[in-house]
Amino acid sequence: MSNQTATSARHRVFSFARVSAITANTLTELTRLKVFYVLLLFALLLIGSSIFMAQFTFQQEFQILKDVSLGAMSIFTSLLAIVATARLIPQDIEDRTVYTILAKPVPRFEYLLGKIAGVLLLLAISTLVMSAVFLAVLYMREQSVMHMTLRHMSAAPREQVDDALRAIRSSALNIDIFPGIIIIYLKACLLATLTLFVSTFATTNIFTIVVMVFIYFIGHLQATAREYWLHEHSSGWVTRVFLAIVALFFPDLQAFNLVDDIVAGAAISLGLFLKTAVLGIFYTTIYTLLAAFVFYGKEL
């Protein structure tokens, strides 16, 4: 009896160790699925497009390279977030792993938190690797253009050469790209937690993926629907109810598409970046809590 009391006293309501064990296991599982092949595809896309774009001027080349890289980063992280998360719970139920874990003194919230943390870690690694590949390709192209310019302008005055090099550097790497990449990651985190929430009441991962594809498109339309609902009062009640549903139930995914304008030259202020990041974290937290709420009531 005293042994049992000691054990329950040692058992904590929330344990980071338990969560991190589930996180590490989830990450290992996802890695075994060879999801990192996506990164190879990304590298090939970048290197291929940079070779193809050599016929453009350096401004055009850098603009397209940045657009393609960041666009690919956005689509790959979003896909990875949805596909990797959609299979987490259904797969564990099918393999009966969930019963083994939950039979131990592991609260359901910890199980979910560990699972989603594994996906978020995977997304962080992928984003970091993709960013490194992107920066390496951009740097190589920048160096190549600079060498070519120096060769062509060998007879030009020093001031003109400096101006030309400055123009190349300013077209290549824009420091605002980094907050843009963080926002891409936050969007992927949001999609991952939303997928987790959908998967808590879905029965198959195919259903979850299909629902998430719809949510992805509707989420990008949410801002338009919201503004129409809030400012346009001439439409019929059916339209208004529909718009209200879209505005209230779905996240505003357009808020996380800042990178297009950043590449085009728009500067993002710290305040705006923080506001966007806070919204991303807010959504991520809310969907995780909602997923836990539904998962607690799920019959296993």
Binding site: S74, G271, L290, F293
Partner: protein
């Protein structure tokens, strides 16, 4: 089951909480020149169904780049109508990309206008000149719309100034746009000089041009470039500036 019924209620409550936050963020984004593209029927007609869906899904920049590559091919094949159409779509999708506005104006005002003037299928010179003027106007229109979308960046003001100078031979307007570019962040130092040079060609504004050039000259050696000295000398002679007030000849 009760939990599943509670979820929509929680979502509505959270939706009501997040709505003002999202709305405030959208306003902040617009104030800092983000979210400049309105997704409406007009855009859908311009882009087609597939392009619109892609743009809507957050791949606006990639769609614009794809169209830009198509425009590049159309330019190589001298299909000017297609170049114009594609650049209209590109600039609608990426209104903050200076490069696209600049390229669109350059293709129209410099390339298409020359092609129109050399058009062997049009025997009447008057119609060729008319077509050429239309191309200039298209280039000007791209730059003006580009400036409206990017009023804080100097490049398009400079491009419009060059267009007025080289194509319309309107030195007054060229001077005006170089002057507008000069105080903007990131503007090169030559904008102020170029504005004064252009003004020096305007009949009746020589005194103003002289004062601006003289002010630049007085700023030091860095501004005393050969063109500036030549224009200053020209104006000194034209305005009959007293010998003791003129710049020294050795400066030449």
């Amino acid at each position: 089951m009760t939990r599943l019924l509670l979820v929509p209620i929680i979502l509505v409550v959270l939706g009501a909480i997040k709505l003002p936050i999202e709305q405030d963020l959208a306003v902040s984004h617009r104030q800092e020149n983000f979210r400049g593209v309105e997704f409406n029927l007009d855009l859908r007609e311009k882009l087609g169904q597939l392009g619109f869906v892609a743009a809507l899904s957050g791949f606006r920049a990639i769609v614009a780049d794809g169209l830009f590559i198509q425009a590049h091919v159309a330019w190589e094949q001298t299909e000017w109508g297609r170049v114009l159409l594609l650049f209209r779509q590109i600039t609608t999708l990426q209104p903050r990309a200076i490069l696209f506005w600049d390229m669109a104006a350059w293709h129209m005002a410099w390339n298409a206008s020359v092609a129109a003037m050399n058009d062997q299928t049009q025997p009447r010179v008057a119609l060729r000149v008319k077509a050429q003027r239309e191309c200039f106007a298209l280039g000007k229109d791209f730059l003006e719309r580009g400036i409206r979308n990017n009023p804080d960046r100097p490049q398009l003001y400079e491009a419009l100034a060059r267009l007025y100078k080289e194509k319309y031979k309107d030195h007054e307007r060229a001077s005006e746009f170089f002057a507008k570019a000069a105080p903007l962040p990131g503007a090169p130092s030559f904008d102020r000089r170029f504005s004064a040079y252009e003004l020096s060609y305007c009949e009746g504004r020589e005194r103003e041009a002289y004062e601006r050039l003289r002010q630049l000259y007085n700023e030091g050696e860095k501004e005393r470039l050969p063109t500036l000295i030549t224009r200053l000398k020209f104006l000194e002679n034209k305005l009959g500036i007293p010998q003791d007030q003129r710049i020294p000849n050795r400066a030449l």
